[in-house]
Symmetry: none
Subunit: 213 residues, 4 copies
């Protein structure tokens, strides 16, 4: 059996086990058994548990990013790009729940080298969204400039909302909505809210009550 195939089987197994148990609780024995290979072979190919985990994270991150990227046409209008990206995101996370679990939970649980990888993935996505928002804001006729931090905050909120929806869609209940539905829900509230925002409409605190702090 060629090395490449073996290696993929190992990583597949590792993703499964890491997704189910988390990094520390996962055991190399279990991974080896699930991969149908002996432990020394795993160490020969993948070096160590940490390296194996890193490999899993990178592979899943790239797969997710690739799925989103290849779904977006670079010259389409901003809203269209967001829409396509969201759909691809929801479709991919629904199709690879274990990979998504590793990325969204397990990786952030095991300090330094790994949360960095995930954080960078997230930052990359956030930056894309930031550019989308800026473009949308710029395109609006009587636009109100948004301060940089506000845009970044919006992008984080949007990404977080998407992650939460992905988690909800992957959740236990039978009511799991489709990727399209999920994307629509998010698009409706976010994009419309965003349009209003850049056109100057904001929510204001009722002046009578003074907010403490």
């Amino acid at each position: 059996m060629p090395r490449e195939v073996r290696e993929r089987q190992m990583i597949d197994a590792a993703v499964r086990v890491f997704a189910r148990c988390g990094y520390s609780a996962a055991s190399m024995d279990e991974i080896a058994e699930l991969a149908g290979a002996s432990k020394p072979l795993i160490y020969l190919y993948l070096n160590s548990k940490e390296d194996l985990f890193g490999t899993c994270i990178r592979r899943e991150a790239e797969a997710l990013l690739g799925a989103v990227r290849s779904a977006v046409e670079p010259h389409a209008p901003a809203d269209r790009r967001l829409w396509d990206g969201l759909r691809a995101f929801f479709a991919h996370t629904a199709a690879h729940p274990e990979g998504w679990a590793v990325l969204s939970c397990r990786a952030r649980t095991h300090g330094e080298p790994f949360d960095q990888v995930v954080a960078r993935l997230r930052e990359e996505i956030v930056e894309v969204v930031v550019r989308l928002i800026e473009e949308a804001a710029g395109a609006a006729p009587g636009r109100t400039p948004l301060v940089g931090r506000e845009v970044t905050g919006l992008a984080h909120a949007l990404v977080g909302a998407a992650e939460a929806l992905a988690g909800w869609a992957n959740g236990p209940a039978g009511a799991a909505p489709s990727a399209k539905e999920t994307a629509e829900t998010l698009m409706n509230v976010a994009w419309v809210g965003l349009e209003n925002l850049v056109s100057g409409r904001r929510w204001g605190v009722a002046p009578a009550v003074s907010p403490a702090g």
Copy 2:
């Protein structure tokens, strides 16, 4: 030293260590050392590692829920209540980043009994938000009825956005926005978007391009 005080010190230490390392990677030795007590005493008071973890989760969940609840006036209008709740949420998670880390990451990482607790906490919050949205939707004059699942989806998105913003605010360094700022950002995009949504404005796919899938 009276038992109650000791116990709190232990739980404090445990929350710190669990937040930093996750459940499995956390060691009772480290917790004991940080708590300034011996391991047998921890076992005498808190029974086992799992029980200790459960105690941490419950305490932090209740503290967070309590902070949000006591910040919201039950008879205020819906937007006001959301605003106050969000501010309290961001303030509390910013003030107790370790508790928030345990709740948002670690607890979901360690199967069955604990993710249930956190899932219930989240469901509780989602339900509150669902009621807020329904109220807001009902209050709008020319309102469009939202289907139940869409409302739930919106609530999940809102909660997810809030969680992401809390994570961002607790993030590595400098650029951390204040609770007020964060709440404003979210409120602006969500509430305004919501108002438009219930008044019938939606985002639609540009018909020319056929979305794949």
Copy 3:
């Protein structure tokens, strides 16, 4: 509550727990709880786990020996004395199964100081039996002298048989025979066998078959 009473309660509890679990598996916590006293008090009165165990053994050994002794009239004929002693032995072990369990099993399980105590108890009993046998042998008219070691062996066999019968009588099944019955069975086979033995009748290997070794 006077010290003596407390102490007896503690030893009672200890005998119970030691009988059930053995020395090492018994926990001072359990003993303390069963005795209705706090652990420091036990240590104040009985010094240590080993001391407590020794106290238990000595008390039970003396109780058993006392019961047997006070049942035997010193000037009665040998067979009568054996008979009375056996009956008392079976009666006492049946009435105090926990004490007997401690003596017969637990004490031999926990090296050096304790098996000595039990061994001495056994030796004491064996010696008594030896004297009985010698007396019986001397009283027989055409007696065959028994070598010393053979007598000791017989005594050990008799004591062992008695112990086994005591264990059987204390056993789980409902068929447990009474002390009298048990004593009769043993008396019948042992005494009658003994009488024949000292009168010269012995069992001999059939000469045709040569026993290996």
Copy 4:
């Protein structure tokens, strides 16, 4: 080193340590050191302390039973079979004192699963002896029928006597008799006593003295 050899070394060591200290007081560290292997290897091969103990008991029980069985010719007369069995029993227990210690003391000290095994072993032996006695009783010309419980009692007494003699022979020092001697002693008192018993001679209480109870 092949697994089988290692395993036997481990069990040998375990029997030694269990015999010396009893189940609970034995430490896996000590067993591992004596076996010349590391603890993890022991756990890999023998699973757990309890399993290891069970394995020891079963092995020793089978060895003892096998030694006795293969020494007895099935078609020899009853007394001959008893004689051969006793000699094999004493020879084996003398040759394997540690195995005998585990069977006769330690196993009965550690509840449920193990005392069952030993109890079954003992019952098996008792049954064999019961059949021998019945055969001997049936062969006697003017035989007196023995009630079932009396036979069982006799068998228990005989087995107990044998066990006690084995213990005595394994005892502290010098005076240890040979297997042949021991077997002769027991055979003489038991078989001759038994013959008389079945021919009607019994020991009776002297009528003048009334036994209490």
